[in-house]
Symmetry: C2
Subunit: 338 residues, 2 copies
């Protein structure tokens, strides 16, 4: 997989998930060099300093330093459409010759027509229908091969790069910084869990078992005396909105003290995190940079950031990243402004 | 919680889940001192030595060193009845005054009568019925408090000790030994996930997010402006038999290379592990010591170990621990034979 950005992740992060990923001396340098000096950067560093200060009033033991991150729009690009959704649309096209009725049957028709505006009006139900129709009836090994091949060949339409090169450098620094301070970093995202697990370790230093996502059921079967897992057309878990708080409890089993999202689908994850017993940090990425990335908010069908969420963030002291102002670079391959 | 055994676990194991839990020098000593010299002990040490030998033909990178363990009968006592099942029966009794019809309605009647023989004939369906009737309608926080209190006060009928003191010392040494060699250790067990998470970190050094178990659905609700998760009377995941292979894929997302169980419910987990691409280790604990613990096998309703499983283990080169012969001590509080 050609993922230049991923190479910047220290190998240490891959083998030391639970422990310190960076040598202690690295902490004296700026841990977030791609972040401009800003209140958000300062509040992150203040938070980490306080919860790791042994003997201090806000100290949190390492095993309780749980940090959860949304993926689409928080760790990588989600415009013009969630990447895992583009993958699903490509799957619909790939198998459509076996389903002639899809030409006239929604939501398949809109998927085949590339009418994403209309497709998004079918909401969660439509997405689940597309997923169950295209992701089932094969083994997990076959499905993982399809994902890996797709990630190698697919290109994001505007940037003409593999999606795995469209991760946000400042957020990867943040993940590294937290792990260097003995945080356990998890992804809690609405995307398909197999899809994310295909690249999260390489790109974010986050192993498969730290990835919570939406998923379908599987069934164990012996196949020519070999055990296989066959994917079934049934939803097991939908990890968005309230599902993110439920998923944190179900898959992680411990209260986070740090969470980052970027849209209305992250509201309940942030509320759940804000309910922690000591000091906690809630952050939102606001997409404000149409030149380097995208600018969108209340009126976007993808990554909707309504005014009510901004009001809630301001009222409750959640940090909001202004991407244009707060991030020196967005992508690793981008030249920083002089 | 009075858990003497748990104190023997190094604090390092609690904070260094992903990394080395023991200092390197510890490895020169016998890593499994509670194990008698036996073919099983030797095969474990051979396996770990080979997969960690950099440059060797069987080398496995640290991020791929996944080890999965059953819990009941593999890491702690499961006789005369699975501990999580005893907890469920106590819950049935605790709330039975709100359900007068249970006096004549199965499986509740057998649960209230303490007729476990009959109760076990209702199988998985009966267990799920008891669980959903007693574990729902409260918040996750309330439920966790009930579990913690139960673990503090309940005593195992034969040993008259808290259940958390009935973990197997040789297996805890094995968990430590694997983690010292950069294995990630997971529990994959049919027990209720919340029940296990209440003590696995303290007793085994295994954090909540490395515990795969059976679980019910929850629902996020705002309650007096506070977010809560309410437990629903619906099964989300049943982690036994084929469910263990499905659960490994769903929750861990990577193929294990090491697995340990003790009964027919672990068959598919071991088959799934045996399907790994390189060297892998499959182990079973056979309960053969009626004096120090229990002796049971094909005819036991709890932890059934049929002859067919023993034959499969022998035919496929899986290691079988003979508890009586292979373990110097079983419990930490037990005096070893001179």
């Amino acid at each position: 997989m050609r993922v230049d950005l991923c190479r910047t992740i220290l190998f240490a992060a891959l083998i030391g998930f639970g422990g310190a990923a960076l040598p202690a001396r690295a902490q004296s340098a700026d841990p977030l060099p791609s972040w401009n000096e800003s209140p958000v950067k300062q509040s992150i560093i203040d938070f980490v300093t306080r919860v790791t200060a042994e003997g201090g009033p806000d100290y949190v033991a390492p095993q309780d330093r749980i940090a959860t991150f949304d993926n689409d729009g928080t760790l990588w690009v989600e415009q013009p459409l969630y990447t895992s959704f583009i993958f699903i649309l490509d799957r619909v096209k790939a198998v459509s010759n076996q389903h002639p009725d899809w030409k006239t049957k929604e939501p398949f028709k809109s998927a085949l027509d590339g009418n994403t505006k209309k497709l998004l009006t079918y909401g969660e139900k439509g997405a689940v229908e597309l997923i169950t129709a295209t992701h089932a009836g094969m083994t997990t090994v076959e499905f993982n091969d399809i994902i890996s091949n797709w990630l190698k060949t697919a290109r994001q339409p505007r940037f003409k790069r593999p999606y795995t090169e469209l991760t946000y450098k400042p957020m990867i620094e943040l993940l590294d910084y937290l792990r260097a301070n003995d945080f356990k970093t998890f992804i809690v995202s609405g995307g398909g869990v197999e899809f994310m697990r295909a690249y999260t370790e390489q790109c974010y230093g986050i192993p498969p078992w730290h990835v919570v996502g939406s998923s379908g059921k599987t069934q164990f079967r012996m196949w020519d005396a070999s055990p296989t897992l066959v994917k079934l057309p049934d939803l097991l878990f939908f990890d968005d909105g309230p599902g993110k708080a439920e998923g944190i409890n179900h898959y992680i089993g411990r209260q986070p003290i740090f969470a980052f999202g970027n849209s209305i689908g992250d509201k309940e994850m942030l509320e759940w995190t804000a309910n922690c017993s000591g000091l906690c940090f809630m952050g939102l990425v606001h997409h404000t940079d149409a030149v380097r990335e995208y600018a969108y908010g209340p009126n976007s069908d993808v990554g909707t950031f309504p005014d009510s969420l901004l009001e809630q963030a301001n009222a409750q002291g959640w940090s909001v990243v202004n991407m244009k102002n707060d991030w020196k670079v967005i992508f690793s391959w981008e030249k920083p402004n002089p």
